[in-house]
Amino acid sequence: MSGKTLYDKLWDSHLVQQRDDGSALIYIDLQLLHEVTSPQAFEGLRLAGRKPWRVSSSLATPDHNVPTTKKERISGVDGIADPVSKIQVTTLDDNCNEFGITEFNMKDIRQGIVHVVGPEQGATLPGMTVVCGDSHTSTHGAFGALAHGIGTSEVEHVLATQCLVQKKSRNMLVRVDGELSLWVSAKDVVLAIIGAIGTAGGTGYAIEFGGTGIQSLSMEGRMTVCNMAIEAGARVGLIAVDATTIEYVKGRPYAPKGEHWKMAVEAWKDLVSDKDAQFDEVVVIKAEDIKPQVTWGTSPEMVIAIDEPIPRAEDQKDPVKKEGYARAWKYMGLEGKSMLSDIVLDRVFIGSCTNSRIEDLRIAAQVVKGRKVASTLKQAIVVPGSGLVKAQAEKEGLHEIFEAAGLEWREPGCSMCLAMNADKLGSGEHCASTSNRNFEGRQGFGGRTHLVSPAMAAAAAIAGHFVDVNEFVKH
């Protein structure tokens, strides 16, 4: 019998009950909650007279709707101008109080984007199952945890039963071999992977990311890669536990201590795929081939390296692709343009659960330091992932670098990634964004999103258009 993959091990250690038809009951260790996908779940509990199975397994924080300007944030939830958003955030506060769930509310320095907060607090641990009513829950797989997004009915199901009904996915290994070039980041790696396998390439699979190109990444970088597994169609992204993982977790508020820490570290050493494990699919990418990536269209798979020409619909053979490309060209207003550098940018957004951690902000600050944002830009904003990321950045003086360069320094939240708050694109505006989705209307009605790394977004903010950050920093 062949060995087990990391995914197999995590699945087996959480199996409560296997059913004949292939579905199973899986135990959930941590559920993260936010204001958008939880209200109907709590309402469901109330209507059925049910109580949460184990409140200590949940952690909540508002992130999607929260405003990010100082002026609005100073008075907490009362500062939310949009009454509908305010009701949703207040509802989360009320539900957490009613059911006894730990919440970092808008006045708590630990508030932030759920996928930044969980790991930052050590609430996300290796070997766990983690769910949240948000597809970017795959982020937590960076810790060798089995983590994925769920719908609101499942949020309610996990609250009530501590379990999920699941069917096991197939195993895919995406191996990035070799060494990444200077200024090529985790974001470029994952965009290149999505470009290679497509947005449905990982559907039905749990993707384990491995190889030296992944192992060399920091935890922040690994979270960026796993975060976007869903953009390749895979609900689950995973990375094996190593010394980098354990070092990151150590000493965090919710991480185990003393004897428990020793026991945990011993157990976590097994959170790797066995040498003889069989994957249903293996994709190999050479790290050296990856250049800074930019999406040109309306799907994350519509991505190219900065120096490549924008692909045209008429050159596509597959009719579905041809039609998709034509539609994307029209929506993105690309007529008459051939290179990414031809696109004049209106806004720059540095933030989101993909790229708002301290390392992302450090890199962006390094690029803009001593430079000025292009005068053609309407706005460039930097939105830290949590109150603690913000505090750390300010301790390092990063906010001063951003502000001196003409970028706005904001309060933590999801912000312009999905534009549920006031931060959004106007119709027809092009944005260099470190977020994860470039769908039509994602960042605002008619808005045109280009996904990039923090370094590429920072360089684009200065130049006013896309440039190769590698070339840019030389000048």
């Binding site: 579905s23 509908v84 641990l125 719908g151 009904v165 996915s169 947005t199 534009a419």
Partner: protein, 216 residues
């Protein structure tokens, strides 16, 4: 949950691949704390010329005439024909809620995104995967004749096209059972509470650090 057994209805063809959940229901409508009322904003950006707002009346809004659901012949459609990777992107269950609220009972496509597919079953909405050629045939037949109806039989696991061609589809037994009988998932899982407790006890022993109380 409302059971799904057999359904006969008008089919509307949405000829677009990779339809994401942002397209199905844009973010401004996710601010609701209810499960209902999303139907009028289903496919909001594809359906209307202007940017929709929550709580806005939609009757007087300028519509995109070429969009399939705005065409008279597809008024009252309850079966949606779609293309590959339908429902990709965000996990928002507001997407199936909006489809259901609009009046759709089944969606037929060559493939679906995982989370969306799963969310449909929780809401009495049946997502059906057929072969690409079969979906092509349905698209062609539906275009051919106005008022063309499709029959979806969950018990038999078949889709019958307007011309009478029958296609079989797969569905997990458990999901089928729940949908046919309109069963509440949570109630079923809670019947297994002793198995869950047993698992917890063992796990508490093996990995006690996962069960520590979490202070405010």
């Amino acid at each position: 949950m409302r059971p799904f057994t057999k359904h006969t209805g008008l089919a509307a063809p949405l000829d677009l691949a990779n339809v994401d959940t942002d397209m199905i229901i844009p973010k401004q409508f996710l601010k609701s704390i209810k499960r209902t009322g999303f139907g009028k904003n289903l496919f909001d950006e594809l359906r209307y010329e202007d940017e929709g707002q929550p709580d806005q009346e939609c009757d007087g809004r300028p519509i995109r005439k070429d969009f399939v659901l705005n065409q008279d012949r597809y008024k009252g459609a309850s079966v949606l024909l779609a293309r590959q990777n339908f429902g990709c992107g965000s996990s928002r269950e507001h997407a199936p809620w909006a489809l259901d609220d609009y009046g759709f009972r089944a969606i037929i496509a060559p493939s679906f995104a995982d989370i969306f597919y799963n969310n449909c079953f929780k809401n009495g909405l049946l997502p059906i995967v057929l072969q690409a050629e079969e979906v092509d045939q349905l698209f062609a037949e539906v275009a051919l004749r106005e008022g063309a109806q499709v029959i979806v039989d969950l018990e038999k696991q078949t889709v019958t096209s307007p011309s009478g061609a029958t296609f079989e589809f797969n569905v997990d037994n458990f999901r089928k059972h729940c949908l046919l009988n309109g069963l509440d998932d949570i109630g079923l899982t809670l019947q297994q509470d002793s198995a869950i407790r047993r698992y917890e006890e063992k796990r508490m022993n093996d990995a006690p650090w996962l069960f520590l109380p979490r202070g405010q």
